[in-house]
Symmetry: C2
Subunit: 477 residues, 2 copies
C-alpha cells in the first residue's frame, strides 16, 4: 500500500498539452511545484512531453519499472488503460476519472470491468472518481487542478494528522484550514468510489505509519462494515470521522456523489463506539480537533476549571461543558484561598474570573494552582488578548500543561479571523469558538476512556517531564 | 431613552489623569477618536481636564445642562455621585463600576441604595457593571478601554443591526466580527446588572429606532418575564437571542457575572416562541445570522435547492436541512430538463452539481431556473471559488434573489479565514460554514411564519422589483 504514497516512478495517463487538460496539471505540480524526486511520465496519444515530464504513447513503452499509474481520461477508455498497466506489470493505479458507479448503469458496468481486470492482474486500484494522494513528507501529490500557491501552503511543513476523505472538495477545505493551524497535514487521501482500496485499508496503512499521530475521515458510506470495525478496533491513534448520510435525504445526496450504498446510521454509531472511533459533526471539527491530541496531554477526568479575564464566558462554557458530559470542577475553600492570594481576582470559584489584571506572575500562579490541584482534570482558559503579555502567558500555559499532564483547550474571545491570525503567528493551540474548545476536551476524554478500557489499566505511565510529545499513545503502559 | 444614545452633553465621573484610569479612556475615545460633537466633561477630585475634556470637581459645578452622566469609580462612592447627579438635574446615568449585586450582600445593598436615590430623583439608570452604549451613527461611545484601531473599525460605517448584550467581553467579539461582514453594527448596549433599564426597555427603544432593522441579544437572565414577553410581542423586526444559563451550572456561572436570578429555560423557550423571538445558540450565530435578514428576502416555504460545483456538499447540507426542519426541494422532470439544457451538469436532481463548468451564462441560467421555479422556496448555493468569475456570479445571484423574492444562503467551501476575506473584499453575504447557512435559512423561515401568523395573512405584497431593501417587514400587507 505504501507504493501509493512513496512511488519511485509514476505514469500520468491522459496528461497531454491540450487546453484544460487535467492530467497536465498533475505533471505541472510534480515537475514544477514539488520537490518530489521520483520519475514522472506523461502518457498521451502523441507521446509528447508535458510540463517537463517525458512523454509516451503507452505505459508499455516506458523503459524500466513503473510503480504507480494515475489515470485521468474519459471513463470509457479507462478499462483499456488498466489492461495496459497490467501488461506493464504496474501494481498500483489511481483512477481519478469520474463517470463510473456514481453515474448510472453503464458506469457501474465499467467499474465492474475494471475491478475484474485489476483482480486478474493483481493490481490495487484507488478510486475511480477521486483525487488520489497527497503526501507532505515527499511532496508526492497527484491531485489535479492544484495551484502553485495552494501547493506551497499545503506542503510548507509536514505535520502529523492524516486524512481519508471521500471527496476532493472537502480535502481542499481541510488542507487550506490546516495551513493556519498548529497541526499540519501529513497525508491526505481522496478515495472516491472505493472500487478496491477503501477506508479500512487506509486506516490500516495510516495506523502503521510512524509519521501519522491522528487520523481524520470524511465518509459518504462504509464499504464493508465488518472490515471497517475489525481494522478500527486495532488502532490506538485517535480516529475522527465525519460521516454524512445520517438522514435519508443526506444518504441519497451522498449516493449521487460517490455512489456507495447508504448505511444505517445507528449501526454505524454502534460500530464507532465499539471501535473507539470518534464521531464529529462538521468539516470544521475535522480539522480543528486534532490539535487537542497533538499539542496536549489527554483529559483523564471530567472536572474542568474555566479561567477567564472576561467574565461572560463562564456561563456560556458551563452550559457547553454540561451538554458535553463534562463537569465544572468544584474548588475547595483551600484552593480558592490559594487563588485569592495570587492577586486581585474577581471570582475565585469556578469559573475563575481574573478581571483586567496584568501581572504575568498572577497568570502563572493561577495556572500552577489549577493544574496541580487534584480537584481539576483539565482547563478551559478564555484569556482575552488585550495585551501582548497574555500571548506569552498562553505559551507558558502550554508548557505547564505538558508538565502537569493535564490539557487546556484554549479559546481567545475574538473574531475568528483574529484568532486564526494569532494562532498562526504565535503557534499556540487556539480554538476558534467556545463550542470547539469544549468539543476538544470531550473528544480527548473519550479517547482516553477508550484506551483505558482497551488496556484494562487504570493509570498511564509517566516517563519524564516531556515524555508527552504529541502522540497520545506514547507513555501508555 | 434616546438620551442614552444621543446626548448633547456628557459628564464622565471618575475620569482623571491617574495611571490606568478607566474613565480617562472614555474621554480619550470621545475627544480623540470619535467625531461625536456633544460636550464631554471630566469629573475628578482635582477638577483637572482629561484628554482635552474640561475638568470639574463635581457635576454640580458644570455650567449649563448635562444630559447624561457616566460613572466609573470604585463602587462605594457611586451612591454619592448618583445623589450629586440628582442635584444637578441629570436624568440619565450609566454606571460602569462593578462590585454591586454580582458581588455579594454589601454590593446588593449599595445597588438598592442607588435604585432608591434614582427613583426619588426620577433618574434612569443603565448598569451597574456594564459598558453602556455605542452608537455608530453619531460615534457616541462610552465603552472604557477601547483602542483607536478597534474604535475606527467598529465605527467605519453605521449598519442596521443593533445589540443588547449583558456583557462587555461579548460586545467586543460581536463588533469585531461585524467589521468583516456585510451587515454592520448600528448600536450596541451593554446592560450589566440591569438595576433599572433592562432588556425589555432596550427592545422597545430599538423597535422604534428607524435605523435598526435587526435586533441581537446576549442575555444571562431576564429581569421581568412578563414585561419581556409583552414588549417582544409588539416587535416585527427579527429579534435573535442567545441566552446562557440553560443548565444549572451555566445559570450559576452567569449569576457570578451579572447577578440575575436564573430563569427556567423551558419557560423562556415558551416565551420566545409566543413572541416570535428567535433563539440562537452561540456568539457566532448572533453576529452571522443578521445578514440573512438584511441582504435577502424571507424564506416563504421549506423547499430548498442545493446548488454546488463541488459535489461533496450535497450530502452534508441535506442532513443539515432535514435536521433544521427544512426540505430538499423535489425537482420535476421538466425543471431537470431545463437544467440539463444549460450546459454540462453532473447532477440535475437536487443537489444540483454543476461540476467544474466555467460559463457565467450557465451559472445565471441555473439561478433563473431554480429561483423562478414554484418547486423551490430558497437556495443553498455552495460555489467553490476557484475562479474569479464565480465571485461575479455570486453578485448576480444576490440581485436575482431580490428580483425573484427568494433567499439564498451562500457558503463558499474555503477555510474560514478565506471566506471572511472574500466576504469583506467583495461584500457578498457569505456564511462561514454549511451549518451557519442552513441555520440562516431556518431563522428566515421562522421569522416569516411568525409574521404570517401575527398578521393572519397568507401573502406578502410585492411593490416593485427592489421593494425589498433589508427590512423584512417592508412590503408586508
Amino acid at each position: 500500500m505504501d507504493t501509493f504514497f512513496n512511488p519511485e516512478s509514476v505514469a500520468i495517463i491522459g496528461a497531454s498539452n491540450s487546453p484544460f487538460n487535467l492530467g497536465a496539471t498533475i505533471c505541472r505540480t510534480l515537475h514544477e511545484y514539488s520537490s518530489f524526486d521520483g520519475r514522472v511520465y506523461a502518457v498521451n496519444r502523441k507521446g509528447e512531453p508535458v510540463h517537463g515530464c517525458e512523454g509516451f504513447v503507452s505505459v508499455t513503452d516506458i523503459p524500466g519499472d513503473v510503480d504507480l499509474a494515475v489515470i485521468i481520461t474519459p471513463a470509457d477508455v479507462v478499462p483499456s488503460f488498466v489492461r495496459q498497466c497490467g501488461e506493464k506489470g504496474i501494481g498500483h493505479i489511481i483512477i481519478e476519472s469520474a463517470g463510473f458507479s456514481e453515474g448510472g448503469a453503464q458506469g457501474r458496468a465499467m467499474q465492474e470491468e475494471i475491478s475484474e481486470v485489476a483482480a486478474e492482474c493483481g493490481i490495487r486500484i484507488m478510486g475511480p472518481n477521486c483525487l488520489g494522494v497527497l503526501n507532505a513528507r515527499n511532496q508526492f501529490c497527484c491531485f489535479y487542478g492544484i495551484f502553485e500557491d495552494s501547493f506551497g501552503a499545503f506542503m510548507s511543513e509536514p505535520g502529523s494528522v492524516s486524512y481519508i476523505i471521500q471527496s476532493g472538495g472537502i480535502v481542499a477545505v481541510v488542507l487550506e484550514s490546516l495551513v493556519k493551524d498548529v497541526v499540519k497535514a501529513n497525508k491526505a487521501i481522496s478515495i472516491g468510489n472505493k472500487s478496491d482500496v477503501d477506508e479500512a485499508d487506509m486506516i490500516e496503512y495510516l495506523n502503521q505509519d510512524d509519521t501519522t499521530d491522528v487520523i481524520g475521515m470524511y465518509l459518504e458510506n462504509i464499504r464493508h462494515g465488518r472490515k471497517f470495525l475489525d481494522v478500527a478496533r486495532g488502532v490506538r491513534k485517535p480516529v475522527l470521522v465525519f460521516k454524512v448520510g445520517r438522514t435519508d435525504e443526506g444518504a441519497l445526496a451522498a449516493r449521487s456523489h460517490t455512489a456507495g450504498m447508504a448505511n444505517n446510521d445507528a449501526i454505524f454509531e454502534g460500530a464507532c463506539r465499539q471501535a473507539g472511533v470518534i464521531r464529529v459533526h462538521s468539516i470544521s471539527e475535522l480539522h480543528s480537533l486534532p490539535k487537542i491530541f497533538t499539542s496536549m496531554p489527554p483529559l483523564r477526568g471530567r472536572r474542568i476549571a474555566v479561567f477567564t479575564n472576561s467574565g461572560a464566558f463562564g456561563g456560556i462554557t458551563a452550559d457547553l461543558l454540561v451538554d458535553a458530559g463534562l463537569e465544572m470542577a468544584s474548588l475547595s475553600p483551600e484552593t480558592q484561598e490559594k487563588l485569592s492570594r495570587t492577586g486581585q481576582i474577581f471570582n475565585v470559584s469556578n469559573p475563575i474570573d481574573l478581571g483586567p489584571a496584568l501581572s504575568m506572575q498572577t497568570f502563572l500562579d493561577i495556572f500552577d494552582i489549577l493544574l496541580s490541584s487534584d480537584e481539576v482534570d483539565g482547563l478551559l482558559p478564555i484569556p482575552s488578548l488585550w495585551h501582548p503579555m497574555i500571548i506569552d502567558a498562553i505559551g507558558e500555559l502550554v508548557r505547564k500543561c505538558r508538565h502537569y499532564r493535564k490539557p487546556a483547550a484554549i479559546y481567545t474571545p475574538n473574531a475568528v479571523y483574529r484568532t486564526v491570525s494569532y494562532r498562526d503567528e504565535y503557534q499556540v493551540p487556539l480554538f476558534e469558538s467556545p463550542e470547539e474548545a469544549v468539543k476538544a476536551l470531550q473528544v480527548s476524554h473519550q479517547h482516553y476512556l477508550y484506551l483505558l478500557r482497551k488496556d484494562g489499566t487504570s493509570d498511564f505511565e509517566h516517563s519524564g517531564e516531556f515524555a508527552w510529545n504529541g502522540n497520545p499513545c506514547q507513555g501508555v503502559a
